[in-house]
Symmetry: C2
């Protein structure tokens, strides 16, 4: 059938409303499913890099940050080993453990909580990250004898203008990013890791997301954020082999040998005041982003993937793409060539008690070194981006995500703790 997207693509910009109306009216006469089904198979767990980074972004997220509540290094390492085994099983569509009906343990709690029984693997990936506080707590204490392994790139993020961070939903000792095409599968995975970690870790905060806001592969269409704009058009993608090598994967010579093949993840919960945004004119919305809303083309260009012309001027002599437009401020040309691999998700967490949706973007971006990538880009955005009137960063995290687990003898954190 004809979707809103097909209608838009077929007609280009400038006719959005009319074309969509006409095309989709026709579509309603033929209400059969036609979109390709979401991938519900299994993504390999073992590999050089962790899955869930360049893996084509799945549609749903359950992200969880954990506090380590034990002081016992051996217990922590043992839990990481158990997590790895469970993750290897669950990502392949298996249970975290037996349901209890076999193995002769009906009197024990099941080793799987059961809510994903009957569901396919659904593209589940589980990606672990280590926070700065795992290496050295706020008082500087080396809690687990790994302070000398703290990567320089895990330097605490600076305060950015406008930050309104809530400590209770920021930072953390460990994180797990669960992405899948079925939210029940992602939820099940985090819950079972939390269950396995009972007594060793405690969930600090967690975030559900839907509607991936970036593509990580050229095989994917660009989705829309809750401001209604296509987001992540210029994302680093898995096909960009050279760029990934230069700007995604950490190397031994970067300083922390145990992070070779890993990547650094920045998480930011960005609340949007969508009600205010929704009362802004289309012209202003497009000027703020520097793209048109329907097609997502840079202003002055026709197509989403056309290169923006930052020098072009309109009839009024003003730049077509304003000096403080989002795509200009975030563009690699104005940030020392810095790219990010973004993997964010839209969220709506009910309402805020003031009659407004508690909605926005859970921003996630992977990179080789946040000091050279996220930090300068965010400095530029925080200083000048007109979008700041409509958004607020309320949570922040920075995570060292190691290389992949290479086989059955390996486990999450082995290189770090060995």
């Amino acid at each position: 059938m004809v979707s809103r997207r097909a209608a838009l693509t077929a007609t280009g910009i400038g006719l959005v409303g009319v074309a969509a109306t006409a095309a989709v009216s026709a579509a309603t006469a033929d209400p059969e499913p036609a979109a390709a089904p979401a991938f519900d198979g299994a993504v390999p767990f073992f590999g050089e890099h962790q899955a869930g980074i360049v893996t084509p972004a799945q549609d749903r997220l359950h992200f969880a940050a954990f506090d380590v509540i034990t002081k016992d290094r051996a217990k922590l390492v043992e839990m990481l080993r158990e997590w790895t085994a469970a993750a290897a099983r669950m990502t392949q569509g298996r249970d975290a453990g037996t349901l209890g009906a076999v193995g002769g343990q009906p009197e024990a709690p099941p080793d799987d909580t059961g809510e994903a029984l009957g569901l396919p693997p659904s593209g589940l990936t589980l990606t672990i990250g280590f926070g700065r506080s795992l290496f050295r707590d706020a008082a500087g204490v080396d809690r687990f004898g790994i302070a000398d392994r703290l990567p320089a790139a895990l330097e605490a993020l600076p305060h950015f203008p406008g930050d309104a961070l809530r400590p209770e939903i920021s930072d953390g000792d460990l994180c797990v990013q669960a992405c899948a095409n079925d939210p029940q599968v992602a939820v099940h995975a985090i819950r079972n890791l939390a269950r396995i970690g009972f007594g060793v870790v405690s969930i600090r905060y967690s975030q559900l997301g839907f509607g991936r806001t970036s593509s990580t592969s050229r095989t994917q269409t660009t989705p829309r954020n809750l401001m209604g704009f296509k987001d992540g058009t210029r994302n680093m993608k898995l096909e960009d082999a050279e760029l990934l090598r230069e700007q995604l994967w950490a190397r031994a010579e970067d300083g922390a040998a145990w992070m070779a093949g890993g990547s650094y993840l920045v998480t930011r919960r960005i609340r949007m005041t969508v009600e205010t945004w929704d009362r802004t004119s289309l012209t202003e919305q497009e000027a703020i982003f520097g793209r048109d809303k329907g097609e997502g083309a840079p202003l002055g260009k026709a197509k989403e993937f056309d290169e923006p012309d930052f020098d072009a001027k309109g009839a009024d002599g003003q730049p077509m793409i304003a000096k403080e437009a989002h795509i200009r401020l975030a563009h690699p040309d104005f940030n020392n060539g810095a790219h990010l691999l973004r993997r964010g998700y839209n969220f709506v967490d009910g309402t805020d008690g003031l009659g407004r949706l508690d909605a926005g973007l859970f921003f996630m971006a992977y990179q080789r070194d946040p000091r050279k990538q996220f930090v300068p880009v965010q400095r530029s955005l925080a200083r000048a981006d007109v979008l700041n009137e409509y958004i607020r960063h309320v949570s922040s995290g920075l995570w060292a995500c190691p290389a992949g687990v290479t086989g059955d003898g390996d486990h999450w954190g082995r290189a770090l703790f060995s």
Copy 2:
């Protein structure tokens, strides 16, 4: 490919863990999508009954309750008329209004927020309900001249033992249930209704849900709740024509003529303490529900849809299905034959600040008369159900959902306000 479900079905009970392991290991060699794609077409908006009640339950929910903030009846009715037009458009995959690029209004805010551009209708249904406070506020004031239309069946729900209701996320003047197979489409719909209602209504609370916890058609498999059990096996389904006539649809002779062809919706946000549940033995979990966890069969029977035998006794002389098992207490045989059409969804709303997932079931059930259906069943459950140790009702709503909109001259609330 072989899913966890296929593995279970093929092998029956008692071999769950082993069979799933073996079958799904084979599956990982063939990681191609195989599940039928979720319906992404359009569900008709106009009809005798509102869509979203017997419509085969979609996978995602965005439910919103609204406060009416105007005292002007005409403004309220006009908004309901605009909502109806927007709902008729959005459910067919069209925008709520033009994006602003056509129609010559680029200097006006767009009439659609844009985040569903490019997405198919995704089975979206929008279902409206009217709360008791719309007819008569807490002080008894007839706010909009419709107090005499208050249906007797909209009698305030009693306090049930164990209720821990939070007023700020309970009740409301209006509700809209948005169900779709894409959460972005459901979110988009509620947001645009809120945008259209600016100055007339304000969102009181909203709830996202995933993983429908009931089937409303025999064409659907029974999903699992976050306790890991199949839920809603015995639900009223759209194929039960006689039962729907007797127990789902209100009639003029029930008292409120304007509600003929409508139905009453009870909403309850049921928080589950899943961490405690997860440390309960399988035997106890199954005894509490009265069903086995893998297959979902009544204890003592082999298959999910086998009739439970409430008289059967085990070798120890005790009932196979305990006196206080959930399925016994909720069964029509012990509740004057009362059935419900359940349409609930699982939810996870992050964490609760105590390291626990804020997770559970957003229960929704439609019926002809809550006084004869939900209330007696819930009385029975609240009094004796062993599940109460693991759940808590924190939000409650009761809604009169009128008949369907029959054509272009009709609108939501026309019968009520005419």
